[in-house]
């Protein structure tokens, strides 16, 4: 349906706005279609949430905004909302005949831009373009600040100068905020600056998130409280408010995962609609660890997109699920989170080099532990930085100890709960084994299954089993060398992007590209980067519209991240990428993917990953 990347509404905005309407009521669908057409918008209608997601995934940049009903038979509208936010980062408007405050609040919590009550007036629909416009502005802002475009180029070249901006396009709002924060952080300001600044956004990098999760687990989820967590985390610049809001998101994520897990438990199958937070966490954590290592904890702020990503110990529940959860988690979390996260990661990545320094600093704060390993990684990880940060956090725990043990994070992750994660790592090596799994995207929901398939890889996979997971493989291989495995695994995912919208399925492609490029384990991060780069390139190439593409690419990367697991699809889709061992250039990518959503693993790969991430 819609056109390709280029936004159709260039000249006469908002005319030509590409709207996707999802409603199970055919009568309403007709009415809405007519109303939107009268507003001169380009309308696509859909009676099922699944179809809508497929459409969206197929055309990453095919739509500008999504209007969806809350009550639908095949999927809860809120879930769809989360997915869209995480994977595509498009503005979503919810509709319902029910105007109860609690429902509206839920909508907003899940990231809806607006909540309309039926019967809907045409004038209400006329104004929906403002949400699209707003997002664009934020994107631009982010990009400008991050010099994304350049960053992208850099990334492509393997330079870790991954600009956060690059991710911005993908991230948009969510990320924009983050970016701002990240920016400041990026400059070695550390988080301290952020914290000192009133309301400075805290970027929940992988590392940081990992710490958070660790603290939560230590305290015991039931007795957890922001103050306790804060004390345990021992991060000087973090405030109680930061923790409190993060905890809130985390809780939301977990509850979603819970439900998801029940349904899905395994990677493979789980449709992760909710991205079990646990999974994500697990994944994230894994990723984080990976990232961290590489990036020096590139910005601790790595916002895992789902914050949860941060080393969340993927709930023990299905490993796959965890991964998924992880992946999804970030995604699930304010969509923005993912987007935002990515940016961070990106930033971290690109700046890996830069990051390393800045990141290390910031990260240091966060990571603390990883410092050495991270530093090592950071260089590699440039790209991974962002990822790493996130991961590093995650990994930190893992890494610190393991850092040298490339897998450390995997392990750590596993320890955490993420059993699945570990698998990821391991799996990653293999990951991409499922290689053809690329379906990350395809299944987005299904990606989880792929992950599941991958998870089996654990341990072994990482070693680079298929190139795709280079990162992982590297990880495994490099155990000794460092875990800093280029977060590339995730990046590989980006490669998969073949051009942009490659939707996750790209796994193979990406992984391959990445894997090839990443041959170095050491650079694991790089591996990822390569993949990422490729992915990135794909992204860049793919995306016609700079922003759109970026976003798409990122998203694609994500998805494609098969390696990465970017499948973030939120579900664990990311994992599927992981399973793509081949892709795995980033091996950890799987994990990363989850985590990554935002961060493409290796710097080089990061670019790719990042791209992919954003896509989500």
């Amino acid at each position: 349906m819609d056109s390709s990347f280029s936004s159709p509404r260039n000249d006469s905005f908002p005319a030509g706005l590409r709207v996707l309407v999802v409603d199970d009521d055919p009568t309403w669908l007709k009415i809405l279609e007519k109303m939107l057409k009268k507003c001169s918008y380009e309308v696509t209608t859909c009676g099922l949430a699944r179809d809508a997601l497929n459409l969206l995934r197929e055309k990453k940049d095919g739509y500008d905004i999504v209007v969806s009903d809350v009550n639908m038979p095949d999927m809860d509208g809120f879930k769809l909302l989360e997915h869209v936010g995480l994977e595509m980062d498009l503005p979503v408007i919810m509709m319902s005949v029910d105007g109860e405050t609690s429902r509206v609040m839920k909508g907003v919590q899940h990231g809806a831009c607006d909540y309309l009550l039926k019967p809907i007036r045409m004038k209400e629909l006329r104004n929906i373009w403002q949400h699209v416009f707003r997002k664009k502005i934020h994107e631009i802002r982010d990009i400008e600040s991050h010099e994304s475009i350049e960053g992208i180029q850099l990334i492509r070249n393997g330079s870790d100068q991954y600009d956060e901006g690059y991710f911005f396009s993908a991230e948009d709002l969510a990320s924009s905020r983050k970016r701002k924060d990240v920016d400041s952080k990026y400059d070695d300001k550390d988080f301290s600056d952020c914290s000192s600044t009133k309301k400075a956004r805290v970027v929940w990098s992988v590392d940081l998130h990992q710490k958070f999760v660790k603290a939560v687990h230590q305290i015991g989820f039931d007795k957890v409280g922001p103050k306790k967590i804060l004390d345990l985390m021992n991060v000087p610049w973090l405030t109680r408010e930061n923790v409190a809001s993060h905890l809130q998101k985390y809780r939301l994520y977990l509850s979603r995962l819970q439900k998801e897990n029940d349904i899905k438990s395994s990677f493979g199958g789980t449709k992760h609609s909710d991205y079990s937070s646990k999974d994500l966490q697990g994944i994230l954590s894994v990723q984080n660890s990976i990232n961290i290592q590489q990036n020096d904890v590139a910005h601790g702020s790595y916002r895992f997109s789902g914050n949860n990503l941060v080393a969340q110990n993927a709930d023990p529940k299905s490993n796959e699920g965890d991964i998924k959860g992880i992946v999804s988690e970030p995604v699930a979390e304010p969509k923005k989170g993912t987007t935002g996260n990515i940016p961070d990661s990106q930033k971290t990545r690109s700046s890996q080099m830069d990051f390393n320094s800045s990141y290390a600093e910031t990260k240091k704060g966060l990571v603390g532990n990883v410092p050495d390993s991270q530093k090592i990684r950071s260089s590699q990880m440039r790209v991974n930085h962002s990822f790493a940060s996130v991961e590093s956090e995650v990994n930190l725990t893992a890494f610190d100890s393991t850092i040298p043990a490339t897998y450390s994070w995997n392990q750590i992750q596993l320890e955490k709960e993420h059993k699945p994660l570990i698998q990821l790592n391991n799996g990653f090596s293999k990951p991409l084994l499922p290689g053809p799994q690329h379906h990350f995207q395809a299944d987005q929901l299904q990606s989880i299954p792929s992950i599941s398939s991958r998870p089996s890889i654990p341990g072994g996979d990482v070693t680079g089993s298929s190139k795709s997971k280079p990162s992982y493989s590297e990880y495994t291989n490099h155990h000794g060398s460092r875990v800093s495995p280029t977060i590339s695994p995730t990046i590989s995912a980006t490669d998969s992007f073949p051009g942009q919208t490659k939707s996750c399925v790209v796994d193979h492609q990406v992984s391959e590209t990445i894997s090839t490029s990443t041959s170095n384990m050491k650079n694991q991060g790089i591996n990822l980067s390569t993949d990422l780069e490729s992915a990135h390139r794909n992204l860049i190439l793919g995306s016609t519209s700079p922003f759109a593409s970026l976003d798409d690419e990122f998203q694609i990367c994500w998805y494609q991240g098969d390696c990465y697991g970017m499948n973030l699809e939120l579900q664990n889709v990311e994992f599927s990428e992981y399973t793509d061992p081949t892709h795995v250039t980033e091996v950890p990518a799987h994990l990363y993917d989850a985590l990554r959503f935002e961060y493409p693993c290796d710097p080089s790969e990061y670019s790719v990953l990042d791209q992919g991430l954003f896509i989500a």
Binding site: T27, K30, K34
Partner: protein, 150 residues
């Protein structure tokens, strides 16, 4: 009846639908959407509504007959039906939907049954009225423009 008379008739019919509370302003919204590219838009929507709602009503009927009654399921069906009815502005039908949902919340099976019967009645009445109206409108000619408010 000549054209003028027909048109007048149509106008009156339309007005009474509003006056008697059968329709609310959503119907006007639909009328405003009608244009040259969709000259019978309102009628199409009404037809679509009746086709889908018929199925919904059957489902609710079946669910009501089951014992023990699953109120949350009934509530969700009715929620869906209410949303659907809001699409054409079926005011009285919507009111019955609301009543039904309240009985569901209270777990009042009898109340639900009674309300459901009333709802079906309103649903059928509106259908007849609309059919007559649309038929007259077609006879009166396109100028009637689906009874644009004058």
């Amino acid at each position: 009846m000549d054209k003028n008379q027909s048109r007048r008739q149509v106008r009156l019919m339309r007005q009474s639908l509003f006056d008697q509370g059968f329709l609310d302003e959503q119907f006007i919204q639909l009328e405003e959407l009608q244009d040259d590219s969709n000259p019978n838009f309102v009628e199409e929507i009404a037809t679509s509504y009746y086709r889908d709602s018929y199925r919904s009503l059957q489902a609710i009927e079946l669910a009501l007959e089951k014992t023990p009654r699953d109120f949350s399921k009934l509530d969700s069906y009715m929620h869906q039906f209410k949303g659907s009815s809001s699409s054409i502005g079926a005011k009285k039908v919507k009111a019955e939907c609301q009543q039904f949902r309240e009985y569901c919340d209270a777990g009042n099976g009898e109340g639900c049954m009674r309300t459901f019967q009333a709802l079906k009645k309103e649903h059928a009445t509106l259908k007849k009225r609309l059919e007559a109206y649309f038929q007259m409108a077609r006879q009166a000619g396109p100028i009637e423009a689906a009874c644009r408010p004058k």
